[in-house]
Amino acid sequence: MKERVLLVDDEVEFLEIMAERMRARDMEVTTSTSATEALSLIAAESYDAVIMDFMMPEMDGIQALKAIKEKRPEMQIILLTGHATVQKGVEAMKAGAMDFVEKPADLDALATKIKKAHHQKAVIVQKQSQDKVIEMLRRFGM
């Protein structure tokens, strides 16, 4: 099954080329140039991984990350940044990021993280389904 990725960055050329390279690696990629648009896409579609720039207009990466996690906790988020400091990394992880990658990124290393995101999301979704079944059984006194 193809990994579904949402790539968010206000640098259009970066977005287009990276998306082309990801598609060549058999991933299903949607692109967005703003966090606001990304939040609308997330409300309508499910993605295994959201790869998002840390510093964007309108909403910064941490704000967007928190908003996504609130709507879709199962989605795995990888933040891209120009400068990966320990402080930023800790802040991102505390807010629920799966990983934190410095630009320029190595796509093969990123692809490995996306596969991991796909697996982690599947585990969370399975757990959510199990919890729903258990809840239903409880309601029926079983």
Partner: protein, 216 residues
Amino acid sequence: MTEDSQAMAFEGVRFFGEMSASISHEIKNVLAIINENAGLLQDMVMMIEKGLPLSPERLSQLSQSIVRQVKRGDRIVKDMNRFAHSADHPSEAVEIGDVIHFISVLAARLIAMKGEPPKIEVSATPITVVTNRFFLEDLVWACLCRAMDTRAPDQTLGIVAEKTGNAPRIRFCGLAGDFLASEAGLFSLQERMVAGLLGIQMRADKDKGEIVLIFP
């Protein structure tokens, strides 16, 4: 070193650091695009090795993208160099409109993160003052930040460089009057010290929704 001059030195380094961090982020974005282009070229080489056809048009697009990014990187580095040299002289002839345009280009990403960029209006006749360029850039940036943080929701933020009588001034317009309670609360101690060093009066006009810098 007196406490005042030490505070000024800290403020100068802080401003230089803030601009440098923003510039380096822009350079990283340029490098990231060149890196993706190189990666795509490598992917294409692998396609050729597998016997898949390669489009000369696609190759040309990649080459153009690299050229564009190199030009962008060159412009960023030139601006960075110009900024570094703005601290060369304690006092020099400075064109106010040029400083406003330069700061808006230098801090374009930081501005974009705070919303719509301001509309800049400068007098057709150059307005030249003799001042410290570096600290004037610092003060313009500080006021622009205040203006962006206190912008009125229904108005366009504007920066106007003009001369009234003999006094050059810069107005930051389109601000929400409620936030402009008093100059003392609006500007930080460092900003007031910078204005003091340059002999510039800072005024917050609640009725007009403006911050005004009045040159001596």
